[in-house]
Symmetry: none
Subunit: 443 residues, 2 copies
């Protein structure tokens, strides 16, 4: 599908609204993460958004909400309600409001049948409904489920309006938007915003903001905003281009360079890569391998690597020695050491890392032992006490973490610190061996 | 403050809308978790909700959105926009729309000054604005920040309407609602809803719905709705009580019992427990332990257990043999078997489970080996081909999965199937040994 999509008009899009359809949202069983995710994508495209709305699986209210949104915005994105059941009304409502008829799309109907066939399940007659698509209109393929999305057009107040339908499940909605919808919007957005993300670990949000206080107060274009997530801070630098064809990005590049200068190696990425991806790329490009030995993170650290496509190039495997006896039987730790120093101690973390590196035969091994709570804390070692360690040919090192929050937060933050410990070791190795500086791409 | 709050009228509340105010929501920098949290609370109170809306920090659009909501609902909850800055417009907008004046509340102004004093910070003149509160009206104290909330009333279409203002930060919003706002709503809510959730694995959403087609078509009270997530389907059964004091839940109980009858052991829970929690509870109450041997899930299966508080009672540990050599060195698999059958095969999965059970000393061991993609698939074993196996004292069993979707989906779905394989084995053991049937609580 070409971004121009000759079957879709090329009218400019300035504004958009996100209209989510689903009683589960009104009942509070599901949080509308699609709205924030899509809103961010729209902002990046320079498409402004003044309203978001949620209605239930009720055709009458959905129609009214869509009609209201079409009176205000060039593009209305409907999310949810594309399933096979009677509750799923979005396509029919959009067709009725836009007066664009639905017709059976034979190619999509065959794809849906194939989807079930490959899974050895019989296709239900209900699913045929999902192949009823707007004609004229654009079909947005679903690479992760049965429901295709679609774009159709209508006119309100003499202006062309676009209606886009996306499925509700985030793992279908997001790839569909990025692969198939975004290119169509890019060539239609009237203005243009270009953003770069500078990503940091090892510093808190307010500390990081204070180091950039002069830039934050003086911002006009580009603008500067900070976000924080578990163990990380990101700065978004956004330059606005009134003219889509203006390509002079030097104000944005200058601000990014200044932020990098102020934070040095705390910056792990200028671009979109996650910390785990950056570490994996450093390993892979240098032909190095890693293994893990985990206690309280219980697989979450290994998962950070294995979640990445192509992980097998650098991640060998891991041992989860959650029960203390396994620290002895699987990792060969000295029971006396465990008894003397405790399972959560510098000595145990170092011994786990060393043993994992030897037993799994990797260049690097990361180890974790800690108290994630809610129980198990003591006065000396409260919940949130975590030792992490790294073993390599250059020796071993350990770090004590004192983390706040509940079990999940403690485990997730620990993974970030482990990845960052390895990242710094890999950077040191590069500085020593004269490798290229950490790579980053602006997007 | 008494729940009756003599200063607040006692008109009944049937319907509510949540109106969030904040440009950060429209830009996608923040997800509107307040909406889902409050929506669930409202549903529990039997207050129905047909719309949720988000607008930015713009007085004109906020006024219009509030006016629209007041035309539809007895109660409008505004979240956000109660801060000290110029952007924070919610109280002024609510005052203007309701024609209830704001006056300096001396007690709240002193509390705000004290809040800063205790933190050694000077109070800004901006903060004085946060003590300007509706009079007449009810003040909702903020135990976790400076901005008090408020409730005021107005009239639309001859009916009394309530406007409630809550701060945006969830850690202020939620305690304020639960401690101070909910009691006021409880005595004013006209009806009552009670919901039970029946959770299933091992069946697709459309198949599951077809088995309940008669119940779905015939529903009046209780109502029946389905939801799906990775590898799971849930049915929500909701009974409506016109009279708050009516306690006869037998229609709801009867429908839940009928759903259980039709799905049998596919039902893993009637209540709020996750599948992992149900499996963990079955293990723990029977004094049994589990270990894991993972390849393509790479720690995600172990994490499903370790993420649960108290996991150490039943989860011993695991081996992540991502690299094939580790399947030999850590699990002792015969290299000839691997060469002959392939790493992704029934024989390998069974050998991994058996070895993990022996080497980790657990009652049960789950093993996974598969192709999560995006690369590594062949014609015979395409991406999504996964073998899972379970070893126990009763023997071993394996199951072939043919999964669709991207890497993350394949890995997450595999974990659900593994947990369910173990659940069925635990149920069979209970049936054999005459233990109690799977426990479930209605909520």
């Amino acid at each position: 599908m070409s971004p121009q999509a000759p079957e879709l008009p090329l009218e400019p899009i300035e504004s958009a609204e996100i209209l989510a359809i689903g009683t589960e949202l009104l009942m509070g069983q599901v949080t509308n993460t699609n709205a924030s995710w899509l809103a961010r994508r729209l902002a990046e495209l320079g498409i402004v958004s003044y309203y978001q709305t949620v209605v239930g699986d009720n055709a009458d209210r959905a129609r009214r909400a869509l009609e209201t949104a079409l009176g205000r915005a060039d593009l209305v994105i409907l999310t949810g309600g594309l399933g096979p059941t009677e509750d799923d009304i979005s396509m029919a409502v959009a067709s009725e409001v836009s007066q664009v008829p639905l017709r059976l799309n034979q190619a999509e109907w065959e794809r849906i049948q194939g989807f079930f066939l490959r899974r050895g399940r019989r296709v239900s007659e209900n699913n045929r409904k999902q192949a009823l698509l707007p004609d004229p209109g654009v079909v947005l393929p679903n690479d992760n489920g049965t429901a295709p999305g679609a774009i159709m057009t209508t006119t309100r107040g003499g202006r062309l309006r676009y209606i886009m339908l996306l499925p509700g499940p985030p793992n279908e909605n997001r790839p569909m938007f990025d692969r198939y919808a975004r290119p169509l919007l890019e060539v239609r957005a009237r203005h243009r915003l270009v953003s770069a993300y500078v990503r940091l670990t090892g510093i808190g949000e307010s500390d990081a903001e204070q180091r950039l206080a002069d830039l934050i107060h003086g911002q006009t274009n580009p603008t500067l905003a900070s976000y924080c997530s578990t163990g990380e801070v990101a700065f978004r630098v956004t330059q606005y281009f009134a003219d889509r064809d203006d390509n002079d990005q030097s104000p944005l590049d200058a601000m990014v360079a200044e932020i990098r200068r102020r934070f040095g190696d705390l910056v792990y990425e200028v671009g979109d890569r996650s910390l785990a991806q950056v570490v994996m790329d450093l390993l892979t490009t240098n032909g190095l391998t890693v293994a893990t030995a985990e206690s309280c993170t219980g697989g979450l650290l290994a998962d950070a690597f294995v979640a990445l496509p192509g992980a097998s190039a650098s991640f060998l495997g891991g041992i989860i020695a959650y029960d203390n006896r396994l620290k002895t039987s699987l990792l060969g730790l000295d029971p006396d050491l465990l008894a003397r120093e405790g399972a959560v101690s510098e000595a145990t973390a170092l011994a786990m890392a060393t043993a994992a590196r030897e037993r799994l035969g990797s260049d690097y091994a990361l180890a974790v032992t800690g108290i994630a709570g809610p129980t198990g804390g003591t006065k000396e070692k409260p919940v949130g006490t975590v030792w992490i360690a790294l073993a390599s040919a250059a020796g071993t090192r350990a770090r004590l973490l004192s983390l706040g929050g509940a079990r999940t937060k403690i485990r997730e933050t620990t993974v970030v610190y482990c990845l960052d410990l390895l990242r710094h070791a890999l950077l040191e190795r590069q500085h020593r061996t004269g490798f290229a500086e950490i790579k980053g791409t602006c997007s």
